[in-house]
Symmetry: D2
Amino acid sequence: MIRFECDYTTGAHPKILEALVNTNGEACPGYGVDEHCEQARAMLRELCRAPDAGVHFLVGGTQANTTTIAAILRPHQGVLCAETGHINVHETGAIEATGHKVLGLPSTEGKITAQQIHDYCQAHHTDVAWEHMVQPGMVYLSQPTELGTVYTLAELEAINETCRRWRLPLFVDGARLACGLAASDVTLPDLARLCDVFYLGGTKAGLLFGEAVVIANPNLDHDFRYLIKQRGGMLAKGRLLGVQFEAFLTDGLFLEIGRQEVAQALRLRRAFEEKGWPLFMDSTTNQQFPILPNEAMEALGREYSFEVWAKVDERHTAVRFCTSWSTSDADVAALIASIQNL
Amino acid sequence: MIRFECDYTTGAHPKILEALVNTNGEACPGYGVDEHCEQARAMLRELCRAPDAGVHFLVGGTQANTTTIAAILRPHQGVLCAETGHINVHETGAIEATGHKVLGLPSTEGKITAQQIHDYCQAHHTDVAWEHMVQPGMVYLSQPTELGTVYTLAELEAINETCRRWRLPLFVDGARLACGLAASDVTLPDLARLCDVFYLGGTKAGLLFGEAVVIANPNLDHDFRYLIKQRGGMLAKGRLLGVQFEAFLTDGLFLEIGRQEVAQALRLRRAFEEKGWPLFMDSTTNQQFPILPNEAMEALGREYSFEVWAKVDERHTAVRFCTSWSTSDADVAALIASIQNL
Amino acid sequence: MIRFECDYTTGAHPKILEALVNTNGEACPGYGVDEHCEQARAMLRELCRAPDAGVHFLVGGTQANTTTIAAILRPHQGVLCAETGHINVHETGAIEATGHKVLGLPSTEGKITAQQIHDYCQAHHTDVAWEHMVQPGMVYLSQPTELGTVYTLAELEAINETCRRWRLPLFVDGARLACGLAASDVTLPDLARLCDVFYLGGTKAGLLFGEAVVIANPNLDHDFRYLIKQRGGMLAKGRLLGVQFEAFLTDGLFLEIGRQEVAQALRLRRAFEEKGWPLFMDSTTNQQFPILPNEAMEALGREYSFEVWAKVDERHTAVRFCTSWSTSDADVAALIASIQNL
Amino acid sequence: MIRFECDYTTGAHPKILEALVNTNGEACPGYGVDEHCEQARAMLRELCRAPDAGVHFLVGGTQANTTTIAAILRPHQGVLCAETGHINVHETGAIEATGHKVLGLPSTEGKITAQQIHDYCQAHHTDVAWEHMVQPGMVYLSQPTELGTVYTLAELEAINETCRRWRLPLFVDGARLACGLAASDVTLPDLARLCDVFYLGGTKAGLLFGEAVVIANPNLDHDFRYLIKQRGGMLAKGRLLGVQFEAFLTDGLFLEIGRQEVAQALRLRRAFEEKGWPLFMDSTTNQQFPILPNEAMEALGREYSFEVWAKVDERHTAVRFCTSWSTSDADVAALIASIQNL
């Protein structure tokens, strides 16, 4: 069984693992105030050209999302996001558990537009019964989205402008940002300039675990560590996050891993297209969503793991193949051969 | 600087690290349903002689506490615990953030008694205005306590009996349970028999991170994984927890580490006593709380890290020294020599 | 200005007010355990033919909804309801503020079907990643709906059956139930038999304020008063609710008021239809939603208050006219004359 | 049975009831934006000499407390209050249900001091592990306290100064403020000047229900109506609150009722003292706490209702007698005679 079901099937990239092993014996203070964390923070600030940004390392994406959103919103506010947004569908109501409604917007390929945000805010603030409805208090989007698509720089600029107009903090979930950087014209400095908060995900890009939250808006950084602790996100041996991100940010390893994940995925995409299988989603990143004849799905399922995404019709199903840091040329070649032989 | 400030200053015990390195390349399903997790679950159930217990692996203690408590309580209920309990003082209100009051009981050396629990419940349920007060809905205690003391088996039996009488689930925080097992007559099967839920902590006993939650009461196990996900505790590469606990539970490693931490701490305790320094707390585990003359505190602080605990009088301060899996004989010998030379 | 904007523009029905005045000087215990409350409870139980039901009086609908829903759901569960449901759109996220997601289902005329509930549950419980999604934990519907439509007895029976199959408590918001009883074949005993919880609203049927929550499922009644207090719903002078409901339930006053509100509304409906104005919604209760030419809307707006509901096209707007206990024949006749004269 | 058990046993003061009856037929907009509410707001602003203050009318005290506190605090913050504070003991954890810890301070006669507040903040902000503890985010106190005592102007001035120094909003629960105004040197303009938020309670001073929340700090008033709606406190027929407070604030009725309640209570106090019964609490307001021999308690209990407060020793019990707007000279004379005859 070769695994393409998700991008977190294996352990850490060798360079990450090596860094953990090499520093294992060091005695450090706990809770993320050690020198490795400080060094990784400095590196990320420099990569973002954001010398004053707050940087916080959290174990996982749901924690990063709930901690950030709970830190930003007042009790009567909700978070605007695509209906397909991770916080709206796949976090077991974690945002609602902090007291806030997720305000889902209909989405095309997982994305929302500046115009949608504007229209929602205008409708809310002109309704006579506005106080009876949840106030939009921030915007959440994912780069890349949960469906593998990416925002262009122009789209992000427009969203940023709308957010400023309505005074809505903008938060970008970067669980797969390494791939997003490889597949879009949006850079880390762009994100630091256009977002109030975003994160660079490690879990899906070769770390054992870890997400680096960058708070570009200093008002929102205030007391953030209290919230990390309250939400259960303050790792005792916080140095593990610092050590991993130091290695991840050194010599562009994060970019290299992102590029490699995307390259392997695009090889799969070409194989699907050459086979004549349509794509459920026009993804340019490490998740690919071919629509398979059900017999092909069954046949491939005997040798490869992947995720069933959506029933398209009685005879076809959309599935998801994911590549990761550890997807080898041999894995990809085997899958392509199997496809061609069907 | 030799570090005694806490029990999580260094990385993982060599056997834990080795297991992580050896399994790093394996491809597994995510979220804790891989074979390593299953194996570790089976081992822990057997050690507890609780074949039907639910076992869940979480990254840290605050997560384990909030997830368990939120799973058990109804909205109008609170959790009884010692005023010094970790959930009452050192988790930034994480329990209250789930909507529940922590009902602190005055405590002697970090412990509460069956009688206190009984009296509180009786007072609550006979008050005419009971509905105006938070209903006690469960009991939380720590073994060992935050002050290094331990519950005896007889004490736990009595608390269990009171809890059954008042239908209160009993939850034991075992963040330092490896030491608790070494320093008390309470065993894992005792805990599985007497508690509804408890956990065996790894973070403070040589793992990179990880707590194994054992749910002995099957009613409380129902849907628990939803709550883990909602509270941000479902690690994508869940196998990391399985792999570590497999190693931790093999050939009694967890017991060995607990015994070693305690043994080193008791060597320190003897040195304090021989020096004539009184103990702030009669701890028999890996945290020791000598009361130091302020000049001695200052002198030791130049070479050793430790935590300032409480001002005792103008000239004396209680401090905390912690030992961990990585506290060496040399570290302890050096500190003892420094004490003797003061 | 004659007011048709809502059904709570005036004070209390004369019989309700009289009861309040007559009992004003009595000294009673507080918090709803007085004799008037007990008497009103007994009357409602008898009207429902539910001798064991719990009955609780709350001040308003949002309180009734949040208290009931928070009492029923476990933390990882959400409430299924029509997308247009009051809890989903007009309570400022009150349900989310208790930690729970509202799971909106697409609705036809404000109603949901047994089939929709079944399909949602089946999809949830067969998804491989179910623990990553909010679990449906109960069903909420409104009788009549927010759009004036009603469930038939057959529809409610089918929903009840589906709820039992999936073990979902069924909760009916009866803020306008007096009208619902007048306009459907569903009776109080039917509701008590088919729902786990429902309420009979007083605020919109001639009381100063007050909703009578009937908990037919005794398991859900347990400790309910704690939740009322916690959510701020326990009125100190609780007797005000008992006194009002005593009068409301005496000699069928609640039925009479409901019938009268509906009769006046249907007179308006006929006038709209005769004028040739289409109806935005096929309402048979005290809210009517004609689609007006914009000039007609403006003209009527000079003499009558009503609510703008939805823009239909550039030249037409759906509006809402409400009748209440105090809508007089003269008010209705005046409005009808104005319509005819346009 | 003559009732002294609380100050909300009877209905409304005749002038309040008359106002309700007189305005019953008026048709007004809902939710507190009618002319009666506007007029009452203007009157209260003038009485407070606070022309820019926000004024909001809520049904009850628990609602006023939870809505205000939830509006002010960020998620990691708690509210400092006396251990005996109403929010800490008698609201079923309503504050915790909004996610916030109540930080109880030991209190003398229900009061806390500026020094206590200062010490708590200083200790918090100098602790090395501050982020692991709930941050004090505001101060709550009651005037008069739950034990009948009052803060002097000098005490309030000192607390205000400390709150400014630590940037803590100050919130005063005035559920019995009418009595507090009668029994202290603190006036409404003082409260508006020294507090960020306070309220003037109506329920315990002759209204059917209602508390007038005055938000002197305009930053805290922003979006407050959303929070009222979310917490279930936005009364549909909001005019009921406006009408009652108009009458309450006209010609000093609120002051008159407060003075009368206090005067009757002090007559009782003198009777207790003359009888030689010690006072459990040195109350100068409408709650009196004599310590009764148990036989006297039993004898009085046959004719008068009162609340058992605390067991003092095997033979003595502290009880609470309350006076209200409807406590007549005859009621008081009867009780005094009964005491003298014991």
